[in-house]
Symmetry: C2
Subunit: 206 residues, 2 copies
């Protein structure tokens, strides 16, 4: 028994990265399909992995949630690598429309995103989530600001609009609209509301 345990343990260590990746993939699949509660226990039950095993591969709940979201982002990057994305080609608003459209079919991941941003507000309890969400927002705003600048360079966007203010506005509108839509799909149309922002921040004319 003891020998068996030790051998299992050694195998488990060797296998760790692979098994961890499997668990992550199962977790993503569950989030994509329907979303789950955000507790390690709920996730473990949904993917058929014991709580102890989850704790073995992920230090805590926040680490698992962040990794799931990160892996999802990487998948999106890969899947959209062929789409035009240069700031001169795709406006800030068009970029968010694209992402909102993708998210409409994966409410579980939008829920996960909402959980991460809410957790991030409590920096003391969720230091890693705070850092992750903080850095993510900076990255998103920097990308959107560049698109606004490109719009200004092309003459489409008014020169007196501050690109950073506009970037925060577009990111906020996109997040907030997706949330309202999930809660009330008949009353809210993300695309139509975002399109209003295009009057302010028009994209390049094709």
């Amino acid at each position: 028994m003891v020998n068996g345990d030790t051998a299992d343990r050694a195998r488990s260590y060797r296998k760790a990265p692979e098994r961890r990746a499997q668990i992550l993939a199962s977790a993503i699949a569950v989030f994509v399909e329907r979303g789950v509660g955000a507790s390690l226990r709920a996730i473990g039950e949904a993917i058929g992995v014991s709580h102890a095993a989850l704790r073995y591969y992920f230090a805590h709940r926040d680490e698992l949630l962040i990794e799931v979201y990160r892996a999802h982002e990487a998948t999106v990057r890969e899947a959209t690598a062929h789409e035009p994305s240069a700031p001169e080609e795709v406006s800030a608003v068009a970029m968010m429309e694209r992402s909102a459209e993708r998210n409409a079919s994966i409410p579980g991941l939008v829920e996960l995103y909402a959980t991460l941003t809410t957790d991030a507000l409590q920096a003391e309890q969720h230091p890693e989530t705070r850092e992750f969400v903080h850095a993510r927002f900076r990255r998103v705003r920097a990308d959107l600001a560049e698109r606004v600048r490109a719009g200004q360079a092309s003459g489409a966007v008014a020169a007196d609009i501050d690109p950073d203010d506009a970037a925060a506005l577009v990111a906020a509108a996109s997040d907030g609209l997706q949330l309202q839509w999930l809660l009330d799909p008949e009353a809210v149309d993300v695309r139509r509301s975002l399109a209003l922002l295009e009057r302010l921040l028009p994209g390049p004319t094709p």
Copy 2:
């Protein structure tokens, strides 16, 4: 002992509404001051009320959170009753600017709001929160849409803007910007970003 218990219990029943209101007031004070985790246990510890007592006055965590937020909204309504608020006087964007300014000094309540909206996404686990947040968004959007319509009637806002689309956009932008600001106050300026929306949805000229 048994008699004493019974007498205590009877007194407690008689006192219930008063004690419940006291607990609610303490909870609001704690949220205003610094915010707490959203578990009944964390709230109980913060306000010095036993978990059992909390469970006695509030059926579950969601009920307490909703009641705290509802009581906060009532306080705001009272405190702002003297301010001009007619749709003809205050634009949709100005209304949200006002509310964002108030919220800047009570991050704990913005956290609570974020928790409620995130919980609302999981209707099965949080049916009452879902209903509360759903109804609140409908109310907020209806109010903002009326302001956009007043702007259109006065000729300030373009006639071809759909008031409901604009209302969802303004509410979303305001929520999202406050969240980004809490996470990164140096990088995000809620007022400046919201002011960009005023170009699209200008208020009545004074």
